[in-house]
């Protein structure tokens, strides 16, 4: 202590209570902040998923509790031709609808990337098929495909006189399948187009200018610049699109309910029919659970097959 400084008061910081120290402890804070989100996920995602998987191994029906029966549901499904038809239908539906959506979506995105008149307006109405609730658009498609009241048939037969009979959209298996694929493509294009458009806009125009100076043709520009730069977003959109299409329910249920004689049943609609309409919850759950391996494979292929590190994290990250 020297003579020029006088101690008037000494400040003793108060000892931190256990409560305060707890809230200062980082792991606890992290857990606390994650709790709401984790809670929601646990209640609305993990619990139903776990319950569904458990139900698949029981013989629960609507109205009676069930007992554990192990793999019996899966064994009986293995021998069920309708189940395998639903599997092949789902794979066909997903594959063809995804190819259609991506081809048309990418083309639309490329078109919209240029300066065209009413660009903003077109981009807005492009989203309409996606925003309209699926059930409503499914019912609209149901009318379009109706055997007696189809507008397409009306135009072709009564206006243009190209055919004499109304078109049978939903009466034969392959007609019905392709009709549903078309409806799904119509509904799914906006999602792909808008997302790819966003991706296209991140590609720096200086790349295209440099390519033009080097004398690259349009196709070469597309192949060498657009496609690689778009890969990260393409992988993500592809994964999501496959997941959504594979588990599609509303479109098929509203238009054909799985008919004619089960040839348009997807795994989701068959699971619903067996579980809710037919009261066999265990069997329906088993069908739903059988979707999981396919979805996991699709996700893995998308992520690791397409997502090479450069593509996953953008160029420059070799």
């Amino acid at each position: 202590m020297d003579a020029t400084v006088q101690t008037i008061a000494t400040f003793h910081p108060r000892e931190d209570g256990w409560f305060t120290r707890l809230f200062d402890w980082k792991p606890f804070l992290v857990a606390l902040c994650m709790l709401p989100a984790a809670g929601l996920l646990l209640v609305f995602l993990t619990y139903p998923l776990g319950l569904g998987i458990w139900l698949a191994f029981t013989d629960t029906t609507i109205g009676q509790p069930g007992h554990w029966i192990g793999l019996e549901n899966f064994i009986s499904l293995f021998n069920d031709s309708v189940f395998w038809m639903a599997v092949t239908n789902t794979i066909f539906y997903t594959a063809s609808a995804t190819v259609g959506k991506f081809a048309l979506g990418l083309w639309l995105a490329l078109l919209l990337n240029h300066h065209i008149p009413f660009k903003a307006f077109i981009r807005a109405i492009l989203l309409l098929p996606w925003i309209v609730p699926t059930v409503l658009s499914a019912i609209a498609w149901w009318w379009i495909y109706d055997p007696q009241f189809s507008i397409i048939s009306y135009v072709v037969v009564n206006v243009l006189h190209l055919k004499t009979n109304y078109i049978d959209f939903l009466g034969t298996p392959w007609h019905a399948r392709w009709s549903l694929v078309v409806a799904n493509i119509w509904r799914g294009i906006p999602f792909v187009a808008i997302t790819l458009l966003a991706g296209l806009q991140t590609i720096s125009p200086s790349l295209y200018e440099a390519a033009l100076l080097d004398g690259a043709s349009g196709w070469q520009q597309f192949r060498r610049i657009t496609v690689p730069m778009l890969m990260p977003i393409l992988a993500i959109v592809l994964t999501l699109s496959i997941l959504f299409t594979f588990s599609d329910f509303q479109l098929v249920y509203a238009i054909t309910r799985g008919g004619p004689f089960n040839t348009t049943h997807l795994m989701a609609t068959l699971a619903f029919q067996r579980a809710i309409d037919g009261s066999e919850l265990g069997e329906g759950a088993a069908i739903a659970v059988s979707m999981i391996p396919f979805l996991v494979v699709a996700t893995l292929v998308s992520f690791f097959g397409l997502g090479r590190r450069k593509w996953m994290q953008g160029e420059g990250n070799d």
Binding site: P147, R257, P260, S279
Partner: protein
């Protein structure tokens, strides 16, 4: 919501409801006049001492035609005025009703009474209050129960009533009189060959028939069941064994395959509204359906549709080889759950609804949409005033039901819900399968349901 509604309030509510709907009734008096055309025996009703502070929560299927709900509500309000017991009625969509019933049964909470479908009373029998006292009283007073009402109200082959049938809906032949006459017939032939020829001629004059063989839960199952029963075939025999593999089934399949050629194209894609739409558009001349087609046409403001209603007639479905017309009438049953705090009040409510001053007007104004389970109500004047309603008058006088002729179990509903029989017919009719292989597939599927 349901507590604290005084007599005065319910009178005002009733008046307001009626004023809003504009349906003329005799007035929300507590005692309604007894209809004069319902013969009844002089039987003392059973005593149900009402619990103190009772209030009821009831769920029933949603209406398809307005009078169903309007008159049910009028009857319910009258019950509240007479007894002071508030009742809340929820109208649930048909597809949601069975899962909701399952939840109520399993959780022991929710409604006191469920007016439900199909085999639900059999599934939940252990959870329901026995209805013998009510059933015997009503049967004695109103001329007895029809066969299918007894079949669905009692435990299989016993006299124990687990639920009370309220009414049923059936699907006879609906046809255009002028077009059938143009094809050379005054009424629909009752034999199979005659029916086929009629349909052939109808197609020749450009007004074909149409029956759904797609995934239409009511119409397609109804039509395919008729095809089986009219040929003497059945899904299950009285012991509960699947009996589809028979020459009668093959005959039925071949019949429908030929009939399909004379139908309007595309019925395989029809759901339950398909034949309604086509009939109202004048595209088909003949189909099987409930009274909904006729009702909509008759009450339409459009003069074209009204003319169509005048030209429409109903007839019981062709008998074929069966001893009586093979129509079934899906009954709606009142199930009183054991978890209800006011079982006496509930039974009194059901009894009140089934008595002539309430049931009579409801039945009459529903115009054949519901058919009665008690024989006296078949004698009401309105059945004969409009001759077109004749097949609905005795709809519950049938022995045919889903899963005929075996015991009524969950398996019968599962077969209907999964379209086992419908898909069998559809596969053969479209030429995608031979009768034998379609039967094999259907038998395999049906056996999976019936073995458990």
């Amino acid at each position: 919501m349901t507590s604290g509604i005084s007599r005065r309030d319910s009178l005002i509510l009733g008046g307001a409801a009626l004023g809003a709907i504009g349906v003329p009734i005799i007035g929300a008096r507590a005692q309604a006049p007894t209809p004069s055309d319902v013969p009844m025996a002089d039987v003392k009703p059973p005593e149900f001492p009402i619990e103190k502070g009772a209030s009821l929560h009831v769920i029933r299927p949603a209406k398809f035609i307005d009078p169903d709900q309007v008159y049910w509500d009028i009857n319910t309000k009258r019950f509240t005025e007479t007894t002071g017991i508030p009742v809340s009625v929820n109208y649930i969509s048909w597809e949601d009703l069975r899962p909701q019933t399952a939840v109520i049964a399993n959780t022991g909470a929710g409604a006191d009474i469920v007016f439900g479908w199909a085999i639900d009373p059999f599934l939940y029998e252990a959870k329901l209050v026995g209805m013998n006292d009510l059933a015997e009283y009503l049967g004695k007073k109103y001329g007895g129960w029809f066969d299918i009402a007894r079949l669905y109200g009692t435990r299989w082959k016993t006299n124990y009533w687990h639920s009370l049938p309220i009414g049923g809906g059936t699907g006879p032949t609906v046809y255009r009189i002028s077009w059938v006459k143009q094809a050379g017939y005054d009424k629909i032939p009752n034999d199979l060959d005659g029916f086929m020829t009629l349909c052939q001629k109808l197609k020749q004059i450009g007004h074909p028939c149409g029956f759904s063989i797609g995934h239409a839960v009511g119409d397609a199952n109804g039509f395919c069941s008729w095809a089986l029963w009219a040929h003497g075939a059945e899904v299950v025999d009285p012991e509960g064994k699947v009996a589809l593999d028979s020459k009668e089934t093959v005959a039925a399949l071949k019949y429908v395959a030929e009939l399909y050629k004379y139908m309007i194209p595309g019925t395989i894609a029809w759901n339950d509204s398909g034949n309604n739409k086509a009939y109202a558009a004048g595209d088909i001349s003949l189909t099987f359906n409930g009274v909904s087609i006729y009702y909509v046409l008759k009450n339409s403001p459009d003069p074209t549709l009204q003319a169509m209603a005048k030209d429409t007639m109903h007839q019981a479905v062709p008998q074929g080889l069966a001893k009586r017309s093979p129509m079934t009438a899906g009954p709606m049953n009142a199930m009183l759950f054991k978890h209800s705090k006011y079982p006496n009040a509930a039974k009194e409510y059901i009894r009140f609804l089934m008595e002539a001053p309430q049931y009579g007007p409801w039945l009459a104004k529903c115009y054949g949409y519901w058919s009665e389970p008690l024989k006296s109500y078949a004698k009401m004047k309105f059945w004969t005033e409009d001759p077109k309603l004749a097949p609905y008058a005795n709809a519950m006088d049938t022995i045919y039901y889903d899963g005929y002729d075996g015991p009524i179990t969950a398996a019968a509903s599962a077969v209907v819900a999964n379209y086992t029989v419908v898909d069998m017919f559809a596969a053969v009719a479209t030429g995608n399968s031979t009768p034998q292989s379609a039967i094999r597939t259907a038998v395999r599927q049906a056996e999976r349901y019936y073995k458990s």
